[in-house]
């Protein structure tokens, strides 16, 4: 390793205890280990754009050699990010914000559009024969989750409705069951988080004995949901390979700081669909927080 | 008598299914101390609360300075010159003496948006009024919670007097006090009366009543036993009236009649 180890800060909008974001954070940490850079990962405690912009400001004050941010709300974060760019800090955007990345002055974007992923999932579920779908949202008002539902509605084409729930698996299970009981037409469930919404949805459908005629898919991965996919109870999981969203920006920024190397274009990290064929091999990695 | 400053006529007050007052008449004149006596639950507090605008009478008329009035709030009674020192004193223990003294009628200076408390005046007046009543405060921003019971009573009374009460109602000001403090409260009542203020003094201690009272009205279970003047009644007659008579005699017998 030559020179002083660069300092890189990653600021995202996902809470540290969110299963999805904990994988991103693991990617960040792995990259830190591999590159030897000083990396710190920060996120507000709730989905809070105002707090996030303050965290970016705090990071910029420390004049890191690289900054990686997710951009779920370009308006809210614009000033902070532009301040970083103006201060000469190389910025990479990750996860959300593919459309505004260039505009904000970021070097590139690693990730996948939430809307796009939702649309692809919707299309796939429509292909499976679904006509009436629900989108199980465990964190109402989180914009990136809303975008997934919107994309789903677009791609699915037929009737869709959002089912708002809490973070509590028992509540999710009961609500999904209630939805299925009160509307027999529902034949498609898209859950927005594998552990919090996906697993209870499978349990609900199973308890109603309707595994055969209800298609279930979920965003993100969890070992138990993958097991359900492998067992044929659920159809597929949408994988953004978010480990890459943590790993790549850090290693790109490290290479930039050390050697001035930077890829020329955005890196699409997903979507990648995990189906019955490949679910089994992903389970182990998922239970370690890598996928 | 036409010189009564407050006259209550046939006041009734019901609380749901409880009849607290069933037709009480009463009046008080400037410069006299009219004692309202009665056992616990006789309705004394309820009666004076209707007088001071806390409760509205279910029935009955109220005439202040010759005009019939209906009070919608304690505020209105106060504005009509009826000041009350409640049994529970209406003081906030955590607040300073000065702030309690002026509570609800704070002095201000300045104008418009810059109108603010005139703390200097407030403290000065409080200190001097308290001194007039014989109490030397350590500091004007001492919390009321740190005062003794007698001192609190005195704050409450001097507050009422200062704000130009024409009628001063005292609800059992002496019940929680020691001898010395009781004496000082009674002396205060005496002083206030001599200033020409009408005093309504509620107690169930006959001796305290006899010490300062000009007239006495005894309440019993929401009814009045009538009014008599100081020269027409003795302490023991009053006592009998209040207690209801016969039972008391037995008890006193067994205890030597010293109650």
């Amino acid at each position: 390793q030559d020179g002083e180890a660069p300092t890189i800060v990653v600021v995202t909008h996902g809470q540290a205890n969110d299963p999805f974001w904990s994988v991103v954070k693991n990617g960040v940490e792995q990259a830190a280990k591999n590159t030897g850079a000083n990396v710190s990962y920060r996120a507000p405690e709730t989905f809070d754009m105002v707090a996030m912009s303050q965290l970016i400001d705090a990071a910029v004050n420390q004049e890191p050699d690289g900054l990686a941010v997710s951009v779920p709300d370009a308006d809210a974060l614009r000033q902070s990010i532009e301040r970083a760019v103006a201060a000469g800090i190389p910025v990479i955007t990750l996860n959300a914000g593919a459309d505004v990345s260039k505009d904000l002055g970021a070097l590139l974007h690693v990730g996948q559009s939430e809307y796009e992923a939702g649309r692809r999932a919707g299309e796939r579920l429509a292909e499976l024969g679904g006509t009436n779908g629900i989108c199980v949202n465990q964190e109402v008002g989180n914009v990136s989750l809303d975008q997934r539902c919107e994309g789903f509605a677009e791609g699915f084409g037929n009737t869709t409705e959002v089912l708002p729930t809490t973070n509590d698996p028992a509540d999710v299970e009961a609500k999904v069951r209630a939805a299925l009981q009160s509307n027999g037409e529902i034949d498609t469930i898209l859950a927005l988080g594998a552990a919090t919404a996906g697993e209870p949805s499978v349990a609900a459908v199973e308890s109603l004995n309707r595994l055969d005629d209800v298609n279930i898919a979920s965003f993100d991965l969890s070992a138990n949901f993958l097991q359900a996919v492998a067992d044929g109870k659920a159809d597929f999981a949408i994988d953004q390979q978010q480990f890459l969203q943590g790993y790549l920006p850090v290693s790109f920024l490290n290479l930039d700081a050390r050697y001035g190397l930077m890829p020329a274009g955005d890196v699409p990290s997903g979507p990648n669909f995990v189906t019955q064929d490949n679910a089994q091999q992903v389970i182990e990695l998922s239970s370690q927080g890598i996928r | 008598m036409s010189d009564a400053i407050v006259r209550m006529e046939n006041i009734e007050k019901h609380f749901g299914n409880i009849v607290a007052l069933s037709g009480v008449s009463f009046d008080v004149r400037p410069g006299e101390c009219h004692c309202l006596l009665g056992d616990n639950g006789a309705g004394k507090s309820t009666f004076i609360k209707t007088m001071s605008g806390v409760h509205k009478p279910t029935k009955g008329r109220m005439i202040v300075s010759g005009k019939e009035v209906v009070f919608d709030s304690p505020r209105e009674a106060m504005d009509a010159g009826i000041a009350t020192v409640y049994q529970d004193l209406a003081m906030i223990p955590l607040m300073s003496v000065t702030r309690n003294f002026w509570m609800g009628r704070e002095p201000t200076k300045g104008w418009g948006p810059f109108k603010q408390l005139d703390m200097k005046k407030a403290e000065q007046v409080t200190m001097s009024e308290m001194k007039r009543m014989g109490i030397n405060l350590r500091e004007a921003d001492q919390a009321v919670g740190t005062l003794s019971g007698g001192e609190r009573q005195t704050v409450a009374i001097s507050r009422a007097v200062y704000f130009g009460a024409k009628v001063l109602i005292l609800d059992e000001p002496t019940s929680a006090l020691g001898v010395r403090q009781t004496a000082s409260v009674l002396a205060t009542i005496d002083r206030v009366r001599k200033d020409g203020i009408a005093v309504v003094f509620i107690t169930h201690n006959v001796r305290h009543a006899m010490a300062v009272g000009d007239r006495f009205t005894v309440l019993n279970r929401g009814k009045t036993y009538g009014t008599s003047t100081a020269d027409k009644i003795t302490a023991s007659e009053l006592q009998d009236l209040m207690a209801g008579g016969q039972e008391m005699v037995e008890l006193e017998g067994s205890l030597g009649g010293t109650v």
């Binding site: 540290a16 205890n17 969110d18 299963p19 904990s22 994988v23 693991n26 940490e29 109402v140 409705e161 959002v162 089912l163 708002p164 809490t166 973070n167 509590d168 698996p169 028992a170 509540d171 299970e173 009961a174 609500k175 069951r177 209630a178 939805a179 009981q181 009160s182 509307n183 552990a195 919090t196 697993e199 209870p200 349990a203 109603l208 004995n209 969890s222 070992a223 138990n224 998922s286 239970s287 370690q288 927080g289 890598i290 | 609380f15 749901g16 299914n17 409880i18 009849v19 607290a20 056992d39 616990n40 639950g41 507090s45 049994q87 529970d88 279970r221 929401g222």
Partner: protein, 367 residues
């Protein structure tokens, strides 16, 4: 307090037996249950009140209810615990780790979970009792601390994931597992379905194959705690400690011990919920129990507990939780746009509490 007499007084009507009954704190909650039921009878899909529908909303109600029972007793005893939600996550982690990492048998894992919960309950109690700080603020600190520790612990236990799994597998053959997970009376239900007494799927399997064990725990705990509160010296002490800690102490009630026991009980209720839900789900994650502390307090208050302590009941918390569960799940059975869900939740809470209040005032003649 001014001394007001209430002798055998000709000025007072005798109170009837019925109005005696109606003075109980849980009355309002029962009235609330009725009101909510009527509302949903008119607006919701009738399937909500079928056997499977009822069990469906009773399950979350039971999980919340176990927490609400602890919260209710603690509130009667004059204290709050805002850390129960985080405690569910933390004890869930402890339980999962005991089973999967330490490979303990279920019995020991459960014992360990309760021990840890009890320990934190004691810590809460010690700080509150030693410093005299309001329990509201002390337990709020533990809300954050325990939530944070759950995350750290999970990552440590799983090498980086926030979900700990494989729990169901590790208890698969444990004799104790049916007590804490799955459904009870499955044989009975199958038999009833076979006879056509309860709904069944077209293939003859009963739509409901048993009663979820959490409901039994919930009912059992309600009965026990009601009994404790009303029929044991300890219950008397709880009311006394919450009504006036100083007076109680002066009368020889061991107030310190009572409050400690209540904090421990509340924490153990959280641990029980953790065990039940973790076994049910087969996994645990860092967000379990999020905001459950408030739901528990709401349920207890709907159930007639006074925020100031000294008054309330376990049975009230029972019905309060059921109201909460019905509102939470019930809206899904209606045609109401789901975006309105929180508006309705808040509105129904408000109506339930107002209704509760009106009924109580009517009946007790309170002013």
């Amino acid at each position: 307090m001014t001394v007001e007499t209430a002798d055998k007084d000709e000025r007072l009507k005798e109170s009837s037996f019925v109005s005696q009954l109606l003075k109980r704190p849980e009355l309002g909650a029962i009235a609330g249950v009725v009101a909510v039921t009527v509302f949903f009878l008119f607006t919701a899909n009738p399937v909500m009140f079928s056997l499977s529908g009822v069990l469906n909303f009773l399950t979350p109600a039971a999980q919340l209810g176990i927490l609400a029972l602890g919260a209710a007793l603690l509130m009667v005893g004059g204290e709050f615990d805002l850390s129960v939600g985080s405690m569910v996550a933390f004890t869930g982690l402890v339980f999962g780790v005991a089973l999967t990492v330490f490979q303990l048998p279920l019995l020991l894992a459960i014992a360990m979970t309760f021990a840890v919960a009890g320990l934190f309950g004691l810590v809460n109690a010690e700080i509150v009792l030693r410093t005299g700080l309001p329990s509201f603020i002390v337990t709020l600190a533990f809300l954050f601390i325990l939530r944070g520790l759950s995350l750290v612990g999970l990552k440590w236990a799983t090498n980086g994931s926030t979900q700990l799994r494989g729990i169901r597998e590790s208890v698969e053959n444990d004799w104790l597992a049916p007590v804490f997970s799955g459904r009870a009376f499955t044989g009975l239900f199958e038999w009833m379905a076979g006879n056509g007494w309860i709904e069944a799927f077209s293939n003859g399997k009963p739509k409901v194959d048993g009663i979820p064990v959490e409901i039994l725990w919930f009912v059992g705990l309600t009965l026990i705690l009601t009994w404790v509160l009303l029929r044991t010296p300890a219950g008397n002490w709880i009311f006394a400690a919450g009504g006036d800690a100083n007076s109680a102490k002066n009368s020889g009630v061991p107030v310190r011990r009572v409050k400690m026991a209540l904090f421990v009980l509340t924490a153990c209720c959280a641990a029980l919920v953790a065990i039940l839900t973790v076994l049910d789900a087969g996994s645990t994650d860092a967000r379990r129990g999020f905001q459950k502390e408030f739901e528990a307090i709401i349920a207890a208050v709907i159930g007639g507990c006074l925020l100031t302590g000294g008054y309330g009941s376990a049975i009230g918390a029972f019905f309060g939780s059921i109201i909460f569960g019905m509102v939470l799940i019930g809206l899904t059975y209606t045609q109401i746009d789901q975006d309105w869900y929180q508006v309705f939740l808040g509105g129904m809470l408000l109506i339930a509490v107002l209704f509760n209040n009106i009924i109580r005032k009517r009946v007790t003649g309170e002013r």
